[in-house]
Symmetry: C2
Subunit: 445 residues, 2 copies
């Protein structure tokens, strides 16, 4: 057969002939690209979007309660009245009026801040990326809860930082475990740059750092001369109208705070922010400028108008009610259907339940079988930088309706039952590389 191979892409590709399946740029990439792998959650988004699958995998906020008609009018007014500003470049620092409003939002959690020290970012993911850019050289260490937010682990990997996970329990990060990890890191000569923590309604663990632990965590970090990066996208989404004092509120000079409008307003606008100690803020603006020049002006003005003209706190309350109803649906369905030996966290806010399954079941290996049974979840391994988490999974209740959540949990329980049957009959279902004690995790009930 000497017929020429079919052209893989339209258009002229003269140089590709003969090595279509190899990457001719392989020797050119920076070392940091070795840490860039498709997250398991990302691979799942495609599957989860099939309508017959109940997705308990993603973290998309449920926006159905947004007042679209009034937002539509407002957007039109913004362009008519202030279009030349909204469509023009702005500063890398962000729109001043919005930075003032952001300070008012943060005041709800006890933070007293100056608008100068707020830097608007393209979602808090960009804030995370910028903070890592500022502080982490390759080989530096970041301390993070185990499990931790998958997007944070992605940023840490992109800057070749090592991650040391620290255990949580029902009351969040365990101070003694943090102190021990820091001492150990010092003993091993590691350069620890910061503690990355999600104190409220943790993603993925669903737990909240107890108020009485907060001062202790700050004190430990100060003692070990380690910065605190406080990531707080869910803080206003407490189901009992509760808020917690931000770590930043009592230690403004040693805490970098990340905030976001993705969960309290709209994720597709990509408006987040960093509140940083004054000296850090100047460097942050420079870093942000080299990353995107400036955050989109339109989106900042949309958020600013929304905050000043809508009952945005009432809207957050509505969101909370929706999420609480979904949380309740998930917890009662788990109670009703899950086989013995499964344990899970009981979040009082946010989007996620973290479940631990019995010994012998591998949540990553089980996932294709779950999807076949038309339910998806995020397997625990994605939330650890060290390959642990194979006995855990994250269950999101934020997006589907309560009915779908109940149906999804029912399907998942059936998959787990048959998996556990196999384990009882044949031993561990999948030969796993990891054995021995499982990861530190909020394994609670």
């Amino acid at each position: 057969m000497t017929a020429s191979p079919p052209e893989p892409r339209p258009g002229p590709t003269p140089a590709a002939t003969g090595h279509q399946n190899l990457d001719p740029h392989l020797d050119r990439y920076a070392a940091r690209t070795k840490g860039m792998t498709a997250s398991e959650i990302r691979a799942l988004f495609a599957v989860a979007s099939r309508p017959e699958v109940v997705s308990l995998a993603g973290g998309m906020p449920n926006l159905a309660a947004l007042p679209l008609e009034s937002l539509s009018t407002q957007m039109a007014e913004l362009i008519s009245e202030d279009g030349l500003s909204a469509l023009q470049y702005g500063s890398a620092h962000g729109v001043p009026a919005l930075r003032e409003q952001i300070c008012e939002v943060m005041a709800l959690e006890g933070i007293s801040a100056h608008p100068d020290d707020v830097v608007v970012t393209v979602g808090s993911q960009m804030g995370l990326d910028m903070v890592t850019r500022l502080f982490c050289d390759p080989g530096d260490t970041v301390i993070a809860e185990g499990p931790s937010y998958v997007g944070a682990l992605g940023s840490f990997a992109a800057y070749q930082a090592d991650v040391v996970h620290v255990a949580m329990d029902d009351d969040g990060l365990v101070p003694a475990a943090l102190a021990e990890a820091l001492s150990q890191a010092e003993k091993n000569g590691k350069r620890v740059k910061f503690l990355y923590t999600i104190p409220n309604f943790h993603n993925p663990a669903g737990v909240t750092l107890a108020i009485e632990r907060r001062g202790e965590i700050l004190e430990i970090c100060r003692r070990h001369d380690v910065l605190v990066v406080e990531d707080n996208p869910y803080g206003l989404l407490g189901f009992d109208n509760q808020t917690y004092p931000a770590l930043r509120s009592t230690d403004p000079d040693n805490v970098v705070y990340l905030g976001s409008f993705s969960k309290t307003f709209a994720s597709g606008l990509r408006v987040g922010w960093v509140l940083a100690p004054h000296a850090v803020r100047e460097k942050l603006v420079l870093a942000a400028e080299s990353a995107t020049l400036c955050p989109p002006t339109l989106n900042q003005l949309v958020v600013s108008r929304y905050l000043s003209t809508h009952d945005w706190k009432g809207q957050v309350k509505t969101f909370c009610e929706n999420y609480r109803e979904r949380r309740d649906a998930m917890l009662s369905a788990l109670e009703q259907h899950m086989p013995e030996g499964c344990t899970w966290t009981r979040p009082d806010g946010g989007f996620y339940v973290w479940m631990t399954v019995p010994e012998g079941v591998d949540t990553k290996a089980m996932l294709p079988r779950a999807v076949t049974a038309r339910v998806a979840y995020a397997s625990g391994t994605g939330f650890y930088a060290d390959g642990l988490g194979s006995r855990q999974m994250r269950l999101s209740y934020c997006y589907p309706t309560p009915e779908r959540i109940r149906e999804g949990v029912r399907r998942l329980a059936a998959v787990l039952e048959s998996e556990m049957d196999l384990v009882r009959t044949f031993g561990s279902v999948t030969a796993r590389k990891l054995s021995g004690p499982q990861a530190p995790s909020p394994d609670t009930e």
Copy 2:
């Protein structure tokens, strides 16, 4: 006097006492922050925004010709009809419909591309940052025109890449100089990762790469196994209805192409893109995901609607007419007012004129005197990574009215005249660190 010092910021700052003026985080920053310094242009933005100053410094597009009323209606419709998508997370890859339209835009410059290979970014600045993230380890070398885009130099510095500048003339990058620089770099054991080039209506040089040089540049890069990063924000802004074949159009496997809607539609939306060889594209999506999760969905849908419902090519034509009128105003004013010994480029598209002043005048040192005379420009040093450019300045004609441009040039000429008087009387006005031959630059007339 033992009165307590005034509180520098509101809110509790217990740890700041005693060292308000020091950065307590100084030992914590990553090595890359050493390269992060405020660009001269950025510092100028504040000054230039004073209404009495004619700013020939910034690169803000003139948006006055945009059809705001119709955009306003369209934005309202988008939110009413498709708000739940527009306000929701999307993929890091970008909205598929927009990626298809982007391929149609690029076809105007001879590019045949598959939408899969387009990655939407937060302005092309983010594309630049992502490409540098993918390819540059600290100490790697990037070849760039001298002068080059200040934002690109910022990204290269953020990844600790070294920049080697290559000379341009009236016909853009000089192939022989490129070949020589690459041979020299190889001899010196440098790892050259890519050529960064702005072929059309160069920022800041105002020149365009001659068509007959394009194949030669591509061939030289292939021979030296160096990737080409083609940055083309101004390509459709030719003043004589001309477009040039993109480098990408003839070498799809060795060119990464950066595009933007900032100059053809609206900069405040921050919608740009990267067209990359297929293998590179996959890594690019992962890098973008760790940087911002996804570009703002709203902005992508706004651009997509605009492209499909507006006469966007007619709008670009209107922009071009406005810019041509401004270019003409600047060139004729320069001709009329500039003292002997000044030379400048004559752009046939884009935003910028690059001017070289007589020996002895330092454009950076002169800038405060110019601002006092109520005219601002960007001094040439910001466009070189190596401190050259002190005899050059960038003059932007994109934003002010023709009358203001003429007035600005008149003021600038007067400042230069008095500066040159001082040089004639006392020798060089400022003791400069750099002496000897000036930077390679498009010093033409």
